[in-house]
Symmetry: C2
Subunit: 461 residues, 2 copies
Amino acid sequence: MEKVINALKTKLADEQISTNETVRELHSKDETYHQTSLPDIVVFPKTTEDVSHIMKVSQEFKTPITPFGVGSSLEGHVIPYQKGIVVDFSFMNKIIEIKQEDLLVTVQPGVTREQLNKELKKYGLFFSVDPGANATLGGMAATNASGTTTVKYGVMRDQVRNLEVVLADGSVIQTGSLAAKSASGYHLNGLFVGSEGTLGCFTELTLQVYGIPEHVVAARATFPSLTRAIQAVTSILQAGIPIARVEFVDEASIIQINTFSETDYPVKPTLFLEFHGNEAGLNADVAFTKEIMQDHDCDSFTSETDNAARNHLWDARHNLAYAYIHGHAGKKMMLTDVAVPISELANSVIYAREELDKLGVPGGILGHVGDGNFHCLIMIDMANAGEVKRANEFNKNVVLYALERGGTCTGEHGVGVGKMPYQRQEHGDALDIMKQIKKALDPNNLLNPNKIVEVEEGNPE
Amino acid sequence: MEKVINALKTKLADEQISTNETVRELHSKDETYHQTSLPDIVVFPKTTEDVSHIMKVSQEFKTPITPFGVGSSLEGHVIPYQKGIVVDFSFMNKIIEIKQEDLLVTVQPGVTREQLNKELKKYGLFFSVDPGANATLGGMAATNASGTTTVKYGVMRDQVRNLEVVLADGSVIQTGSLAAKSASGYHLNGLFVGSEGTLGCFTELTLQVYGIPEHVVAARATFPSLTRAIQAVTSILQAGIPIARVEFVDEASIIQINTFSETDYPVKPTLFLEFHGNEAGLNADVAFTKEIMQDHDCDSFTSETDNAARNHLWDARHNLAYAYIHGHAGKKMMLTDVAVPISELANSVIYAREELDKLGVPGGILGHVGDGNFHCLIMIDMANAGEVKRANEFNKNVVLYALERGGTCTGEHGVGVGKMPYQRQEHGDALDIMKQIKKALDPNNLLNPNKIVEVEEGNPE
């Protein structure tokens, strides 16, 4: 590694390169149960040129590169299993430009979503994608993150207008343009978003933002059973109500929320909803939604127009994963993440709940049910090999159930290492096309190797 | 070609293979000024297996393949400049499944958008993407088509949930799943949509559809100048009004519409608008829009809730290209297709109008201004070499103006051959990544060769 460090130092300052044990340890893990692995070196680029230099050094010495935002990843994407260099983007955290008239913003990859929204608020704008964590926008683009507002505003890929990407050889490309739509060339924006650092490193992102809605109504609805709650969601979607958020939280998770966020929500299967638009239209949408809920035996429907109450509700929802972690010291979090066609959602959630009951570890079901995406969040004792094995088996069962019904193994958390075992089953021969793309763009297999696709010949999948 | 035909015949029936002069001539052109070129053979597959066989024959004899829908393409995509085999998908025109509960439909590539909408109507559903032509859905996916409703519902790429694709070697892949969102694998849906037959042939498409909106209001607004009309659009977008359609049509084009569609619209710069939603919400949106229009000196604002009047308005708009063709017998159509950031739209249209005036050929400006996308439609005398040269120069000037302002050379028509000269300038070094992808997926360069990217070494661009 001495040679690699010396090569890095030809363009990077000493404080941009670390082999410190604590720093390496901080870059050896994500927020979940995945096994840790220490990198050899952590680097902190400040410019695109720095990243380009790091890439060239990586190629010269055949040293793997793993990009890192804040490490809020959930499937081990940021864990450097092949060691080498972790590239931490926390120094590249500038909001470069807000083009108010075009509803566009250009940021460096280390900017977090909360940092961006704080700034955008001054302009009456907001960025829509909201995973639970205060993740970096670079990381969110790398994993095609989404969140509670996806049902209305779309996933991360839908917001990306252009990326500046440093490729394996250190060259720099732009993947899109500033136009709202384009039919020019292959869709590189779409290819690089969700590529999890396996095709290049993002050094600048131009993202679509939205005007803060004129009027917002949040609501909570509780149901006698999980099934009825999910069926209500299906009906709302089919009625075409342009809902902005519709989140399911089960009873076990409501208990965690009440404890962690000091709320006193009834311990029942609950939908958290939100509507954005003009006042007259929203009133009609809320009334229609309430009617549909009642058709599904909803036993309470509370709407909140007050800003503080609404924020508290969504903070509670966003903090749910942390509530579980906080409530189960010493255990590690595992999250399933399937998405299924809406017609399969109710049965999929019922199946998952039954499997979760059999598993017998603390956990709950929650999710972005408007997209057919739900999570089983479970807390596992990593010292108990039997429990870990059964938890993995549970995750697998939930995934296979979804895949058999035309779903996906990951709705929003990405592949990382956690969903590698299901790539062949989900994508079939299309996985070979992905491998060909990976080989063409990263011939030495140094960019976050063995994530999404494994390119080695004869590798058993 | 004898050998190729014999190889095709091992799996295809005689009536699926044609070398008839008239049939070849029908597959030698698109709807515009682009130079024609006769294929050697036209084949009519009926199944995915047929397409797979055709691909294998193409590889065996190194014969180029060009897919063909109804030939409504505008940039020469379907013209077989390298001759070889044209694959006409008109026999693959079945609607395979409508999954009403999931708002999904699976179709063969030869199904046209009007055919699909006629069927969907029975279920209270519609497919949103509406280019002027009654194009096939396979062709629309191949070119990432869009149309008048894109400002609300998105482009073709946004509707594609899954594609069955036959690759160069005859193997068959699925590019997506039935889930509304996924973070699994590379985004092959996005890569294949817009690939214009250069990476594979689509044999099945699963598309997202929508419930027919509860309430629809259409409107026409006229303005004293083109500038004021475009500025009004910019203001509507910035106000965040969820408009479903906003189309600009200039005076010259209103004259064509009035003649061809027997309307008597005032000959003024005009916006055609549409709003979808619940009645109360729409009334508020329409009122707010009218206010904004008036701030921009709108001199008439007429809204239509009557179904027949509304349909007539949109038919008139959709038939505009045909109105021009009909009104200028013996001439050929050329359409520019840039899209620019909204902040650049007014100046871009003014620039285009000035250049069009200098050019001195019949033509007008129209477009999907809500997406920053507009077309200059001009009719040219192909026998007049000077006029053709000046028209090409005009097209180039409009493109360069857009590219210099962060726009794209094609908002929706695609690259084909018409936009090949601008690929390097628009994409820079990213074009080399596109070439690498093309080489990886089509190593013998037989799939619609020399469209989007030219892979030959030393090819001057």
